[in-house]
């Protein structure tokens, strides 16, 4: 008690001293504090550093003139034999860093010394066979709790002081193929999560739960024809049954919301992207297959879908539409607008009116999109190149080999982009790669003959796969780009110090000039960086932190692409940096 009391006094003193003072209250951050996260650079209370998840910090003590002097303060290992992909973004609150690790683990470190305070290991059934590595992308904090999702599709709330379980709720059945890896989203007193499991004939869903108890408040399926709920009662089906699906296929239609969502307090909507439809081959499911490969604007109080925008109707390339929809305000043709942007797996950067989902613009952010020649601004639909759709299965031979770009891992995969309120640019971690895809007449699934698809991912440029691109959302032009040999797989951070940070599989955390793209600083972390960096102010100094630990979906695919990362070792380390004291 005494310690907490002194914390309050301390924070009050700080609050009067500096605007950047962290929110510290005896009972922890409230929903209002979390909604205000982007305005309090003394802490990081949410995935994306604010409900809009712009990953923009107003701090500028660290800037283009001094970033070359940035050095590590400490590194903290996640320990044990459990390494693999570390895709997490740390949270910072009350002198602690909370970060999730691979294999559904959550750690609390002292933010000043790096000393581990506690560690929570979810007890996972050994029968889970995760499709795409054993990653976790981050936690949420609210009150006395830190909350995260686990690979066996549970949502777990821990006491942030002790790491002891407060509640643990099953959000899906892992035996039916459900999983969870995204960071939960806090809206008021609700914790809102999506689901994973796109390859197994599941139905995507968004769930809002009571943050105090974990009890379900509302649920919203992302595939039309399925029933939503509110307070335990039916709350209307999503869309109109069979409008864009034939027969009963909507019951296993896919559309997983595996990357979580963003929140706009102004419209009171949560924005969730949805995964590809199932089954994988588009010829098995005629129609647009709503609301797969889409962004949904969902009322945060009731779970009712207010609008949808489908980026890849009738997807045939595994172009998941899960990418984050990042709200921002800008003037288009002199008119101030409430907007949102999404860099889609399909290679297009979409700007939408976030109040109604209307398309404002769509521009390529990758080298090549073989599947479509642009997006029709009137209809909002892609101009498909029909010849480049993977063929119908069922023929006895291998059939036509189609080259498709981007590859199914996307122009941009899970890794979140950042938006600078200073430069007005989005910084998009993207990849230029394609795939050969063909029917596989001799495939087997569960011991039986099966019609699969064969594919080989390959680079499409001599000098790079990865490309960090600065995109002007008003013009759709790429202002600068940084090319990287290996695929980029980590999140981006930008700051008022005119800096952009991101990591590379080669092990570097790098800093760039936000205006020019010039590389200013890099540090070798010892393993690939596929996490999302953060920054905050502590004791009058600006800190930067990132997770290091190579993994994720990329190493699962071999071929030419694998040559770019074959020498990279696994890891599991939190790195924290600041400028040396003068």
């Amino acid at each position: 008690m005494k310690r907490r009391f002194s914390t309050i006094i301390g924070s009050m003193a700080l609050a009067s001293a500096a605007l950047s003072a962290p929110v510290v209250a005896a009972d922890g951050p409230s929903g209002a504090d979390i909604a205000n996260d982007a305005q309090t650079p003394g802490d990081v209370l949410s995935y994306g550093m604010g409900p809009w998840q712009q990953r923009f910090s107003s701090l500028d003590k660290l800037n283009t003139t001094n970033v070359t002097k940035l050095v590590p303060v400490f590194a903290a290992s996640l320990g044990g034999e459990k390494q693999r992909g570390q895709e997490s973004q740390p949270l910072v609150y009350d002198g602690m860093i909370y970060v999730t690790g691979s294999y559904s683990r959550l750690f609390a470190f002292d933010a000043r010394t790096g000393e581990k305070k506690w560690e929570y290991n979810a007890r996972l059934p050994d029968a889970i066979m995760p499709c795409c590595d054993v990653v976790n992308r981050g936690a949420a904090i609210h009150g006395n709790k830190v909350i995260f999702a686990t690979l066996d599709a549970h949502l777990v709330a821990l006491d942030r002081h002790t790491g002891k379980v407060i509640w643990n709720k099953k959000t899906g059945d892992y035996q039916a193929g459900y999983s969870a890896t995204a960071a939960p989203l806090i809206v008021g007193n609700k914790v809102i999560v999506g689901n994973s499991g796109g390859e197994f004939g599941i139905v995507g869903e968004v769930q809002a739960r009571d943050v105090e108890t974990g009890e379900l408040i509302w649920s919203r399926p992302t595939v039309e024809g399925n029933m939503g709920t509110l307070n335990g009662k039916d709350n209307g089906i999503s869309g109109k049954t069979n409008a864009t699906w034939t027969g009963d296929l909507y019951k296993t239609g896919g559309g997983a919301t595996w990357l979580g969502g963003t929140y706009d307090p102004g419209t009171n909507m949560v924005y969730f992207g949805t995964g590809n439809p199932g089954p994988w081959n588009s010829h098995l499911r005629p129609g647009d297959n709503l609301y797969t490969a889409s962004t949904l604007g969902i009322d945060a109080d009731t779970g009712v879908i207010k609008w949808h925008y489908q980026t890849t109707p009738h997807d045939g390339w595994d172009f998941d539409g899960v990418n984050e929809f990042v709200p921002f305000d800008a003037s288009i043709n002199g008119k101030p607008m409430k907007l949102g942007a999404k860099a889609d797996r399909n290679g297009y950067f979409y700007v939408l009116d976030r109040t109604n989902g209307k398309l404002v613009s769509a521009n390529k952010f990758v080298m090549q999109t073989t599947w479509a020649n642009g997006i029709n601004l009137k209809t909002g639909r892609p101009n498909y190149v029909d010849d480049n759709r993977p063929g119908a299965p069922g023929t006895a031979d291998k059939g036509k080999v189609v080259f498709a770009s981007p590859s199914f891992l996307g122009g941009k995969n899970w890794m979140p982009m950042a938006y600078s309120q200073d430069t007005g640019l989005f910084y998009v971690p993207s990849n230029d790669w394609g795939m050969d895809i063909w029917n596989e007449p001799i495939a087997y699934k569960k011991g039986a003959a099966f019609l699969g698809a064969g594919f080989t991912i390959k680079p499409i440029a001599e000098d790079h796969i990865g490309a960090l691109r600065a995109m002007d959302p008003k013009t759709g032009k790429i202002v600068w780009e940084y090319k990287n040999k290996a695929p980029l797989w980590g999140g981006v951070l930008t700051t008022h110090g005119n800096l952009v940070f991101t990591g590379t599989p080669e092990g570097f955390l790098k800093a760039f000039d936000a205006k020019s793209g010039q590389e200013l600083w890099k540090f070798q972390t010892g393993s690939g960086v596929v996490g999302s960096p953060i920054t905050w102010e502590q004791d009058g100094e600006q800190y930067v932190a990132v997770m290091s630990g190579w993994g994720g979906a990329v190493p699962l695919w071999g071929g030419e692409v694998a040559k770019t990362f074959k020498e990279i070792s696994q890891g599991g380390m939190l790195w924290v940096f600041k400028l040396p004291k003068q």
């Binding site: 029968a127 004939g201 009963d248 296993t252 001799i442 011991g447």
Partner: protein, 299 residues
């Protein structure tokens, strides 16, 4: 010398693993330590760990905590022939066979699932054998095919599948039967299809009025008929026109460096086939045993 297609195919399968330097030598000529290790280990521990699909009725499924099915019985029979106990590990299927072989045979699961000594119900297919160089494919013990069946009042089961347009037709989601039926009548039967998670359930839908027609594997059809003797299900006798799969052999897989164990199991399976125990084991589940094509004598 009279060669059998089986020995030829086996030779091919083993030659595919030339990297390990093992040739298809007769058992007596193989170097002893290599031959002894994996088999001796199983005997020493007294346990044969067998990996089976967890939801693959009638082959293997979880029957109230106890592994049941043809493959489960086969696993127990093989273990007892080696003089050890069977430890059956039921596992969730991955997206394709490559994932299963990785999780179950040569690497293990990422979350602690221990690799098995052997996996049953593995397709025995030349191309697959060539692609998967971490495992040895052995002992093709049965041939699977697709067939069709009708409910008691489902009409003429020998008629063209397209004639069931307008009737409920049950299929396993995203399976070959699914695709086959989707393609009937110019693709106009999509609204008639009832998608269920397994082929067994698709056939079972004929017993309770949910469906009039189904396409599934022959084993799935025969097992449901045996499990519901009074249902009046009619099994189609004529071949399915333009069915895209002619059938496939199933066998076993062991780690590439455990083929001594594999050979011992192959021998045991050969003995069960020779003395009729295999046929009886299948018959116990209502399923007719068919020798694998790769194991049939050539002329």
């Amino acid at each position: 010398m009279r060669a059998t297609r089986r020995s030829l195919l086996k030779g091919l399968a083993r030659a595919g693993f030339g990297a390990a330097g093992v040739l298809a030598l007769p058992a007596a000529l193989r170097p002893l330590p290599l031959q002894a290790a994996p088999l001796e280990k199983v005997k020493e521990l007294g346990v044969l760990r067998v990996g089976l699909y967890t939801d693959n009725r009638p082959w293997s499924w979880d029957d109230g905590g106890k592994p049941a099915g043809i493959d489960a019985d086969l696993a127990r029979a093989l273990a007892s022939q080696l003089g050890v106990r069977a430890d059956i590990a039921l596992f969730l299927a991955d997206d394709d066979i490559a994932g299963d072989l990785r999780n179950v045979v040569w690497r293990g699961g990422l979350l602690g699932f221990q690799p098995c000594d052997v996996m049953l119900h593995v397709p025995f297919d030349k191309i697959l054998i060539k692609e998967e160089d971490n495992v040895a494919f052995l002992a093709p013990y049965h041939r699977e095919t697709f067939g069709a069946a009708c409910s008691a009042d489902g009409g003429n089961c020998e008629a063209h599948p397209a004639s069931f347009k307008g009737h409920p037709v049950a299929v396993e989601t995203a399976s070959i039967p699914d695709l086959y039926m989707l393609g009937q009548a110019g693709g106009s039967m999509t609204r008639d299809l009832i998608h269920v998670p397994t082929g067994y359930e698709a056939v079972a839908a004929l017993t309770d009025g949910r469906a009039d027609f189904t396409v599934a594997t022959t084993a799935q059809i025969e097992a449901v008929v045996a499990d519901h003797p009074d249902s009046g299900i009619k099994v189609r006798k004529s071949a399915l026109p333009l069915m895209m799969s002619p059938g496939w052999d199933i066998g076993i897989a062991v780690k590439d460096n455990a083929r001594t164990l594999g050979f011992a199991l192959e021998e045991a399976i050969g003995a069960m086939i020779a003395d009729g125990r295999m046929k009886a084991l299948f018959a116990h589940h209502g399923v007719q045993w068919h020798p694998a094509l790769a194991a049939q004598p050539s002329t």
